[in-house]
Each structure stands twice: as C-alpha cells, then as structure tokens.
C-alpha cells in the first residue's frame, strides 16, 4: 500500500513498477470477506441471498461485504 503523495513523487518508471506489483489488495479483501463470514456466521453466498430477499439490511457491513465480493469477482 502506498500513500498517494508517495506515488505522485515517483518517476514514471518507478510508478509503472509500483503499479505492476501483484494484487496486494486482493489478499486484504479476501481476509475481510472471511472476517465478515465469521462475524455473521454465514457464507458470502448466504449473505447475498439474504440481502437480495431483504432478510439482511443494507448496512455499512453488508455494503462493504458485497463490494468486496464484486471486486474479487471482477479480478477473477
């Protein structure tokens, strides 16, 4: 992870290299998804179903959980 200011201070080559670094954020996202699954004692798929049917409300946690799932799916 990098501060935006640090990224802006890099040369173009150094920034290119930093942007090539492998998916550090995906690991953090998967850990957070696992944390939500433990906290709510359900799988992400169960949460998705519960959310779609209105059994689970749109809260800060469910919103972030869904966003993480969409993002992890986006990158495969």
């Amino acid at each position: 992870m990098l501060k935006v200011s640090a990224l802006l201070q890099m040369s173009e080559d150094a920034r290119d290299e930093a942007l090539s670094k492998s998916n550090g954020a995906v690991g953090e996202m998967r850990k957070k998804i696992a944390m939500f699954e433990r906290r709510y004692e359900m799988t992400s798929e169960e949460m998705r179903q519960s959310f779609a049917t209105g059994k689970m409300r749109d809260t800060a946690d469910t919103s972030e959980w869904l966003m993480l799932l969409r993002t992890v799916n986006r990158v495969g």
Binding site: K3, L8, A18, S22, N23, E28, A60, T71, R74, V75
Partner: protein
C-alpha cells in the same frame, strides 16, 4: 463527452485526490489522511482505501475501486467502478454513507443513507436517497466538504452527545 465521473488519466486522478486532501488538511478539518493506494490487479484495477480522521471525532472510511478503462501510450485512464464513503461520529453514531449500486437486487442505484445523528441514531425515514443523475453523485472532496459543513452546524451538539457516552 466525459461526465463528472468519467475516465481520467490516473496521474490526474491522483493529483485531484492529493490536492483535495491537502486543501482540507490546510483548513484544519482533516487531521489525518489515512487513505492509501493499492493494486488489485496490476495495470487493470486499483483501490483507494483507508480512514480520514477529521475534527470533532468525525471519521470518513473510504473504499474506492478504480478500473483502467483505456490507455494512450503509458497513460492509463481510470474510472471509479465501486465506492463507499462512510462518515461516523466517534464510535457511537453514523452520519451518512454513500454507496455505489448493489447489484444484488436491493438498492441497485447509487444512493446515500443518512442518519438521525443527534437523536435516535437510526436511519432517517426518507433514507436512502437515490442519486439517479451523475451530477448528484459526489466526489470524495465533496463528501469531505459535506462532512465539514455538518461539523460546522452540529459540532457543539455532537461534542455534548459524545460526552454523554463517556
């Protein structure tokens, strides 16, 4: 023609972010900018995430996902494809939360949740509000400005509320 949230060169995007944060830090409302940049998939998907600590024990938790939509030479054009901006008062109240569309059949438009911060703490009856038009959807800088205005208007009452939880 590119709209308010259309694709922009990554460097321009980062400069806009940095300039907005510098301005809010200078004003003294933002105390610490904990937002950091990370790679989700190299040269394709990036993330900006972290906590912005503000005056009056207000915090803004940010998570944005940027996708590379095109390139011109070495210049990558990026666009926000996911976001959530969650403003809270200490650990006791939510102030508001902006979210992109949930694609799971519930609140599937851009929307904002607002809360009765100084009263029940519950979500307001007319919340969430849907942000149908692109112009209604704020940038991170505009979200910080909104929180700053909230602090200017309600800061004293908010301080009393926080003290009541001590």
């Amino acid at each position: 023609m590119s709209g308010k949230h259309g694709p922009v060169p990554l460097e321009k995007y980062l400069n806009i972010h940095q300039s907005a944060m510098a301005s809010h830090l200078k004003l003294g409302f933002v105390i610490d900018d904990g937002v950091q940049f990370d790679v989700v998939r190299s040269h394709a998907v990036y993330q900006l995430a972290g906590r912005i600590q503000c005056a009056g024990q207000l915090t803004l938790d940010v998570r944005k996902v940027l996708e590379v939509t095109g390139r011109e030479g070495r210049v990558q054009f990026v666009q926000t494809v996911e976001y959530t901006y969650h403003a809270q008062l200490g650990k006791v109240r939510e102030v508001f939360r902006y979210c992109g569309p949930h694609e799971e059949g519930h609140n599937d438009e851009h929307h904002v949740h607002r809360f009765d911060v100084l009263g029940s703490g519950k979500q307001l009856a007319d919340s969430p509000t849907f942000l149908i038009h692109e112009e209604e959807r704020p940038t991170l800088g505009e979200v910080i400005e909104e929180l700053h205005r909230w602090h200017d208007t309600h800061g004293d009452d908010a301080a009393r509320l926080l003290a009541s939880f001590d």
